[in-house]
């Protein structure tokens, strides 16, 4: 037997073991979360847990509706801000901007992506919250501390800029040149070509980028936790405080041990997050992989 072949076989087997164990860890995580959240689901039906709006662990009421609504509010606000801005900016970068400008802006997006969540939170507390309470809320005649779902949405929108822009730019760059040339030669202006040809063609990719943005926004914990007030109520307007699901886990984990079903409820929250985000990511990755294969 050749020594080199033995080395090769050894590498193969040990690497396969590493891969297998990391896949197994994921499955164990899912299994563990499921087992841990069973007690809650046995005590109450899934539908009741999701639709009940009273959260008082001491009395055994675990209604997740305020947290789900808080998450949805914050995510929606961030999408309302981020989606149009990102589509417009990436179209500009791909279709109008010079190579030099592109090479300047895209690295800046990498910096934005590298900034840790807690620094976004600091920015939110020191910059966004005071602006909201001192200037924006009075405009609408509302008295607000600034710690609102609106603040959470703004901070989140900035956090999802980089991922949306980088994917949208990539998608837009895969649109074939001939398609644009055909449209322009028929007498369409560049803007008409963009809205009627390019964006239509890029729609699946842009949707995938938005879904990835949603999943990022859904799971973001600390930055949102720091700015959105953390009151377990169903928000009714932009200037209400909210309490998103990830913040619930972060805030209450230390004290969960002494109250029955509490840890099960928090694990259920983690399971909910895991499943939703895994699904979102899976769908958009499959779309993006397909587009990439088509482009090659």
């Amino acid at each position: 037997m050749n020594w080199r072949l033995i080395k090769d076989k050894f590498a193969q087997q040990s690497f396969a073991l590493l891969l297998a164990s990391s896949v197994v860890v994921i499955l164990l995580i899912l299994l563990g979360l499921g087992i841990k959240s069973m007690p809650l689901l046995q005590a109450e039906s899934l539908w009741r847990v999701l639709s009940e709006s009273v959260w008082s662990p001491l009395k055994g009421n675990f209604g997740f509706l305020p947290f789900i609504m808080g998450t949805i509010w914050v995510t929606m606000i961030s999408l309302i801000i981020a989606v149009p801005l990102c589509i417009l900016a990436s179209v500009y970068l791909v279709e109008y901007a010079s190579e030099a400008l592109r090479r300047m802006v895209l690295p800046l997006m990498n910096v934005l992506a590298a900034i840790p969540p807690v620094l976004y939170g600091v920015w939110g507390v020191l910059f966004i919250v005071p602006i909201l309470s001192d200037y924006v809320a009075p405009l609408f005649g509302i008295d607000s501390t600034g710690y609102t779902v609106f603040a959470g949405g703004i901070v989140l929108s900035v956090m999802i800029f980089p991922i949306m822009i980088s994917i949208m730019v990539e998608v837009l760059q895969t649109i074939p040149q001939e398609l644009k040339a055909a449209s322009l030669s028929l007498g369409a202006t560049k803007w008409e070509t963009i809205t009627k040809v390019i964006l239509v063609k890029a729609k699946p990719g842009i949707l995938a980028a938005i879904v990835l943005g949603i999943s990022r926004a859904f799971g973001e914990t600390v930055a949102v936790l720091m700015v959105c007030g953390n009151i377990p109520q169903i928000p009714k307007s932009f200037f209400d405080a909210g309490y998103p699901l990830p913040a619930l886990i972060a805030n209450n984990f230390g004290e969960m041990m002494s109250i029955p079903l509490y840890d099960s409820a928090l694990m259920f929250a983690a399971l909910l997050l895991f499943v939703i985000i895994f699904g979102f990511n899976l769908i958009s990755r499959i779309i993006l992989n397909r587009l990439e294969e088509k482009a090659q």
Binding site: R4, L112, F274, N281
Partner: protein, 284 residues
């Protein structure tokens, strides 16, 4: 106004709107860095980065953030090293040993892509309940395990992107010369060496900045981290806990921590940028 003029006017307006949105996005970056510089610079001093907090991190007025700086560096270095040691073999295996285009390869790559997006609070929650179950208390070790899990997908994904840039012909040529897959893999690793450092830096950046994962697993301590089974402070935790303190000096420590963390992140970004251009030059 004629129809054509109207259409051209529309184009002009659209262009301005697009420019404005691009500017808004870029400006947000400068607002963030600007806010942190403005608040943090007055508090940054040698005492701040060379001392531990005196008299409790939440109420003690004196001292600095050395415990958090060291804790962060330990945590991020250990977990990045572990994640690299686990992640690089996985991507080599998927690239060299599994038949390309097979179900296994595609499924695994998709899995790591998807895991990349799982929020750290979920990893933290899981690690915390495992730690309770096994009987480990909140400690540097718990944080390292959590952050390693979090950073493995980043390493796998980045290295995979790099391996993709190597022409498949090169693989075939080395095989036809009689090299084993392991020998070819070693050659490929040399080829993407600058890129590997990029992957390590990316993982390090994510590891040092993460707070949701360490919030539940690492605990907090005013002392310098000495042993791996003791709770430890990290920079993000120092920011998170001290920002809400009513005492201005303690808040100042949070601002200074934010500034130090920003510096570290900016240095990492600049290094990755330089390495990326080096990898570009490496291209055949």
């Amino acid at each position: 106004m004629t129809n054509v003029k109207k259409r051209l006017l529309k184009e002009k307006i659209a262009k301005i709107v697009m420019q404005l949105s691009g500017m808004a996005i870029t400006a947000s970056l400068f607002f963030i860095v600007g806010t942190i510089l403005y608040k943090g610079l007055p508090y940054l001093s040698w005492e701040m980065i060379s001392q531990t907090p005196q008299g409790g991190f939440y109420i003690g007025k004196d001292g600095g953030i050395l415990n958090a700086i060291l804790g962060s560096l330990y945590l991020a270095s250990f977990s990045t090293a572990l994640a690299t040691l686990i992640g690089i073999p996985i991507s080599i295996y998927l690239h060299m040993y599994v038949k390309s285009g097979s179900f296994l390869e595609r499924a695994c790559k998709l899995l790591f892509d998807v895991l990349f997006g799982i929020p750290s609070i979920v990893y933290g929650a899981i690690a915390f309940s495992i730690m309770v179950w096994v009987g480990i208390r909140a400690s540097l070790l718990g944080g390292i395990i959590t952050i390693t899990l979090l950073t493995i997908p980043i390493v796998v994904r980045t290295i995979d992107e790099l391996l993709k840039t190597i022409p498949t012909d090169l693989k075939h040529v080395t095989f036809s010369l009689g090299a084993t897959r392991w020998e070819t893999a070693k050659m490929f690793l040399r080829y993407i060496r600058p890129g590997i450092f990029t992957a390590i830096l990316l993982a390090f950046g994510r590891a040092i900045g993460d707070v949701a994962g360490v919030l539940l697993t690492t605990g907090f301590s005013d002392n310098l981290p000495k042993y791996i089974d003791e709770p430890s402070a990290t920079l993000p935790l120092a920011i998170f806990f001290q920002l809400s303190s009513p005492i201005p000096e303690v808040q100042g420590r949070a601002y200074a921590s934010a500034l130090v963390l920003t510096f570290i992140i900016l240095i990492i970004v600049i290094c990755t940028h330089l390495l990326a251009s080096k990898q570009q030059k490496h291209k055949i």
